[in-house]
Amino acid sequence: MNKSGITKLQAILIIVVVVIAAAGGIAYYFLTQQKPVEVVEIVYWEFGGIGSEHIYMPWLCEQFNKEHPNIKVKWEHKSWMEKRDILISSFITGTAPDIVSQDTGSLGDFVEMGYYVPLDTFPDWEKVKAIFVPEVIETVKYKDHYWGVPTYFDGAPFLAINVDAFKKAGLVDAEGNILIPTTWEELIEYAKKAQEANPGMYGFLFPVPTYNDMVMFEAIVYQNGGRWLDPETGKPVVDDPAWKSVAQLYHDLVHVYKVSPEGVIDTDYYKCIMAFLQGKAAMALGLTWFRCIESEMNITTPFKWVSTLFPINTGKTYPRGKYPTVSMIMDPTTTFYIISASKHREEAWEFIKWIALNGYIDRYGPDAPTGVPILGRAPATYGQWKNQKWRELEPYLTKLYEEGKLFQGAQGIPTFRGIIELLEKHLPDAVKAVILEYKTADEAFRDLQRAAEKIVGAE
């Protein structure tokens, strides 16, 4: 090839290279300019919870994110004590998350304010609903709609019993099992015997001063045939004998039977449980989450204890209320809700549905897949009730469940506009006035009735 041929070939090669490079560049440009997979970010705020749950929830988000490349769920923990403040402020300022998990006590308030989205409008709601014990899923129902998906429930009223103290007091049957008080009369009798046999120990301890303590009081009232509002008329009925009897029982336990200290008026639920776990009381009133405190505080209780439903009032010594008795009231305190301000409601529902239908609520408990057991959370789903570890930990509750007694008439925690004000501002006054003998039960609850009529009437 002559010189001019070589020059031509070089020119052609250069042109080819330039064309290929240009084509490559253009192709690369267009390929890279293609829209990437759009990732929708879902912000999930978990209010409160215990250490093991703060491991489980982010783990769940991580698993979900792996399986759903187009959705990214971001978990954030928020203070339980400030849950209302934070949620309301975020809603007003337009910084609310897509999903929250919190209790059902203020469900009515938040629904009325338009904060939540009804979940029964989403596809597959019925499938999700079917995994739950019916009484539990009913707790998230308000005004004909279901608004949340629970993960467990906290139930009240429950009784914790120190097995060793009972055995020392001879409160055992022929087979050596402890006697479980099933009536108020038995509660008083066993408390007296346990106190006598165990010096330095109170027979029965119950909490009084705070909101949570009043929820337990309210639960005993409901169990005793009382209600806040008459189901027919919607009017307050807190001067019903059911309310007065529970207050009278509290009074009598302190002053007549002397199995509880006057110090109950400065003993909140937490101090009450701590006292029980330190062996300062043979029995204590509480919710289902005794073991939460035990595990969270890393307490190795030096004695065996069990929990069961609080005894019922037979009506022999103390009058009962006129409404049907309930075994307990329940509050699923980690219930998922979708916030109405969310722009990604479908994706938020996808996340909640994925958790429910893939067995992750069933495994929410002592056998959590993270390897860190979640204790003290009562099962909300049929799957959770089948868990062997739970059954071993809570044999009495399991027995009640299998006998069909645990959920007999069980209801969600009462929720209506104004209830928080009544529980926090007025009910403690009535109960303390009776315990401190400032007022009779009749007087105290007459005053409460007036306050309730004013508050409910104003709503």
């Binding site: 001063p209 200290p261 006057e262 110090g263 400065d266 006035a433």
Partner: protein, 285 residues
Amino acid sequence: MTMNGRDLFGYLWLVPAAFPIFLFLIYPIFYNAVLAFQGFPKNFLLAFEDPVFQISLRNSLLFALTGATLTLGLALLIAIIVTSRESSFGMWAIILTLLVWVTPEIVTAITWSWMLHSKFGIVNWVLIWAGLLERGIPWLGHPQYAPILIVFLITWRLLPFLTLLFVCGILSIPAEYLEAAKVDGLKFRYIVRYILIPALRYPIIIAYILVFVWFMNDTAMIMATTGGGPFHLTETVATLIYKTGFNYFKFEVAAAMSFTQFLILLVICILFLHAFRKYWWVVRR
């Protein structure tokens, strides 16, 4: 007086500081007023008809008045005692007590609630051990003791800060005055009356207003110890505002309560400064 470009430029430098003040102080006050006056006078009537608000208003003023006076008196006394000694022990003691001030209020409140508990509390344990009590008293749940203890606890918390303020005030008095008084053989009580107190009058006025406002606005100590109980005897307007807004969801009523407290504090501060205006003139001279 006209403003030239140079002045305007100078004022522009204030914008970074003025902006957050407007955003976090002026705007919330304005917005609170808007909420409170919605449907006027409904929210104010609802607030004032509530017996708990009446009790809390009385409590707030009573706690602030007694608490601020007590705190001021004690802080002044301690500051005078500490600075009247040559030893540095007093100063170290003040620095140590400042731990109370720097520890978050909620932590100290919860600690006190345990210490005063009828069954677990070390206070009852000591009193029973000393033979002064037969059984524990539920101090924070008892109608007689709870209000007194609330004043005590807030006083206890504010005392170190105020003491330090007065110690600094005393130390800033020219040494010649005190030396001259000593040379003239002036008794200690006259030194206090004629030198220390007049020299400290400006910090005293400011401190009194500050402590008064702190007492009126304190929520953490009350919420974490008594929760406002028993029978609302420790409920203050500040705790009730919080509960009414965020627990009972009555924002407009809470705003009306808040606006009332704001007005009360404003009037008290103006009256107080007016009553002691002659001291202000001294300062301005």
